[in-house]
Symmetry: D2
Subunit: 277 residues, 4 copies
Amino acid sequence: MKPFKLASREYRKQDTIIEINTGDKPILIGEGYCTVIAGPCAVESRESYIDIACFLKSAGVRILRGGLFKPRTSPYSFRGLGVQGVDIMLEVRQLTGLSLVTEVMDARDLDVLYDHIDILQIGSRNMQNFSLLEEVGKLDKPVLLKRGLSATIEEWLLAAEYILSGGNQKVILCERGIRTFEPYTRNTIDIGAIPLIKQLSHLPIIADPSHATGKWQMVTPVAKAAVAAGADGVMIEVHQEPDRALSDGKQSLTPENFLDMYEQVAKVAALNGKVLN
Amino acid sequence: MKPFKLASREYRKQDTIIEINTGDKPILIGEGYCTVIAGPCAVESRESYIDIACFLKSAGVRILRGGLFKPRTSPYSFRGLGVQGVDIMLEVRQLTGLSLVTEVMDARDLDVLYDHIDILQIGSRNMQNFSLLEEVGKLDKPVLLKRGLSATIEEWLLAAEYILSGGNQKVILCERGIRTFEPYTRNTIDIGAIPLIKQLSHLPIIADPSHATGKWQMVTPVAKAAVAAGADGVMIEVHQEPDRALSDGKQSLTPENFLDMYEQVAKVAALNGKVLN
Amino acid sequence: MKPFKLASREYRKQDTIIEINTGDKPILIGEGYCTVIAGPCAVESRESYIDIACFLKSAGVRILRGGLFKPRTSPYSFRGLGVQGVDIMLEVRQLTGLSLVTEVMDARDLDVLYDHIDILQIGSRNMQNFSLLEEVGKLDKPVLLKRGLSATIEEWLLAAEYILSGGNQKVILCERGIRTFEPYTRNTIDIGAIPLIKQLSHLPIIADPSHATGKWQMVTPVAKAAVAAGADGVMIEVHQEPDRALSDGKQSLTPENFLDMYEQVAKVAALNGKVLN
Amino acid sequence: MKPFKLASREYRKQDTIIEINTGDKPILIGEGYCTVIAGPCAVESRESYIDIACFLKSAGVRILRGGLFKPRTSPYSFRGLGVQGVDIMLEVRQLTGLSLVTEVMDARDLDVLYDHIDILQIGSRNMQNFSLLEEVGKLDKPVLLKRGLSATIEEWLLAAEYILSGGNQKVILCERGIRTFEPYTRNTIDIGAIPLIKQLSHLPIIADPSHATGKWQMVTPVAKAAVAAGADGVMIEVHQEPDRALSDGKQSLTPENFLDMYEQVAKVAALNGKVLN
């Protein structure tokens, strides 16, 4: 018997489709759709964030990423604007109509974020932060649950189970690479996890080729591979000037490269009968 | 400076295209092509091998796989027909015109295999069997070099370098999954290795979704992902009755599933501008 | 240049010795000492906890472990007594004079735990829960920082750096096994990490052979190995009836096996010139 | 049921003790003994090999290592003196009475090596070179079988099973570190494998702290740990001038450091009731 219940395909045969209300036409995430989430690693300044948001909106993107609280390996690295950045995100949302996703690292920040953020992201380092999982499990807000660096498929689905069993059914899984012995890339994307999750669970699954590879040159081929394997979308880091990014510059696409990636992913999605949104 | 030379993109900017002479139209392996190699894990009997070969030929496949010497973890498992199977392969080749690939585990078998086999496969367990690499490096025969279970990209290219520096320029790399902590699948396919190899080297690279996943249900999505990521082909295990296979039954496609896989991979290849052969 | 500063041997040449005040003779943790921490995985009931505490005290142990908040992979497993268990720990402390270590999973529990617990443990799943690290960094209380399942040595020392840079210099590192491909054991203990940490850092390091192996039969040899390699102590799970333990029974020593382990570890410690405490 | 038979503790309850005939007092390898094998990574020249051999003999060592055929990742690295080095080894053996161990990479070299070498080593890269395992399985000569870089305990014992089932009962296992994500050390020694092998099998097991760590500073603590965990010996790389070694210099002990290591290991062995030889 599988240890996860609510997350299992046996419990719910039909694919879960998560709806993001936008005022306008809702965004649907799950089987049959291919959702492209994009944006910079971190919100760095009001100007640059508005600028990239407008570009992405014009390209057709409907969900904008941007980190306020950055989990950095070293305490001496740039760790995000924190609560001060919320106003910037809010302004961009009003200006562009884009939906927002940002990472939450501490349950005590949920009060501030809840009203302004459309999707709460749980990062890979917090995939087994069970206190945090329980808190977002109590909310009525989509949660993007990244796979832990060395989490098995079963542990990942059990982390989802923490959220589902708390009452929140809106969980989106995100494969973002696992840690292996290979030093050339930041992580190793586990593409097989995508069809496996589709078989074991009814939950939507997307991929994050930026973190999975750590190299912008690999982002487009890996994004296409993820969608070809059945992913319900991709999350992509984009920056106007990757060389000047305060974090993750090496894995960020320029606007130009983003457009090329978007076009190619759209074709693969169409081949798999998926509607881009 | 990179430790590999002859295998590097710097040494040879143009993609290496390997030609398999067939009497008929040659088979080309490399950038711009998508080569589907298929067949059973092992040659089990004359009848079954002829049968599956005829099916694959009718489906459009031009290169047939089939193991004579099987590297098995346990000495008590079925280890292949050995030299006795050569006649069966030869008969099938004459009958169908298919080209043949089989694994060589011992330099002393090269004499027997050389005349009858079109591509010599070096298995993952022998990727750093340097004596064997040196021997196939002396031959004028294409070598399919599988990545070792825990080989880094650099070690893999250095294994290719052993063959290239011996004088044999016809090396085809094959990503077949690496060993990670994940227990659900047999191995974890490193899809990122495909664009990475394309960047670092001029050599062709194909993928083996059967060994990489160990589960037939995952073979088609992973094959599509590999080709979407830029692979120059796939190698697929097919068996008339996977449940009765003497080895690798769980990862073998039935003829029916093979046709479905083939059709889908063809579409992804076309999207990437690759000619199927 | 190394990315960690306050944790580095260059910053502080002298080994850090952490003092646990006990009312009686203080307990010293660090180079020159071998500290044996023991107790059940979780506090299960008042009676059983008093019982095992008295046994361990009589054996010479001075620091008692016992989980109140258990980070469990599945939400359906026993997750500890929580805050209700604090009174039991407190009673045992007063009764026996033993010092206490317990895991903290949520910054909001620190208020309750601070007064009653002598060492706060950060578990492996929270090694990069940076919010929690920052909170314990503000306290004047020893922190036992377990290595994450797939944390590199550098990431581990940077997690310590979060605590040190917050102002708390009392960090004890704990090697508890890393995740590898090997399925026979729960984890693979990285014994080499012990001399490596001693070279790179001035902080004390102990080992947790119970979690590292997951099998009680391996606990004694691995505990001896850790101390032979230079560890400043070991943390051992002990249970009166391992078969009935609510968690981690398979890796818990019986009292009888504990005594044998203790005697053998004491001899290895003496060989390395370490005072048992 | 376990897949290995002849290697299992169930098949043979009594520990296997392997005897190396020396003309003089035989060397015994297995439970109850601690055998220190030492020498340079490779035989580099007649003079240096005689020199280090005399030093090691005077220190009490009875088995000398030295590679003739070096399995190097790159074809451009120093790959050993090959067959030409056999005479040097032979001369040193006659001069000093030391027994010899060297790696065999190719079955075709066995004829030359058989008469002059006391223990044939199968390196980690060839642990699943089944042709080679079968060949040494036919001989009446001890085989030192190193664990593959990413071999599970079960695969390792099945590789031993290949040799045992061929008729050669003289197999010595050697833990030499596995490949993990940790970049600080060359490999991660799996100390837990030692008590595990003792439980699962009757075969002797030794450790190779030099290859396991890749850093000479870690060799002594890891050697002590291995013996504390129950290893029947250690194999240590020693070089007069590590900085000038043609291979593995960074992990080689100087003669002075070797003496210190030897003395400390001897004490741990005595604690475990093991006779040094």
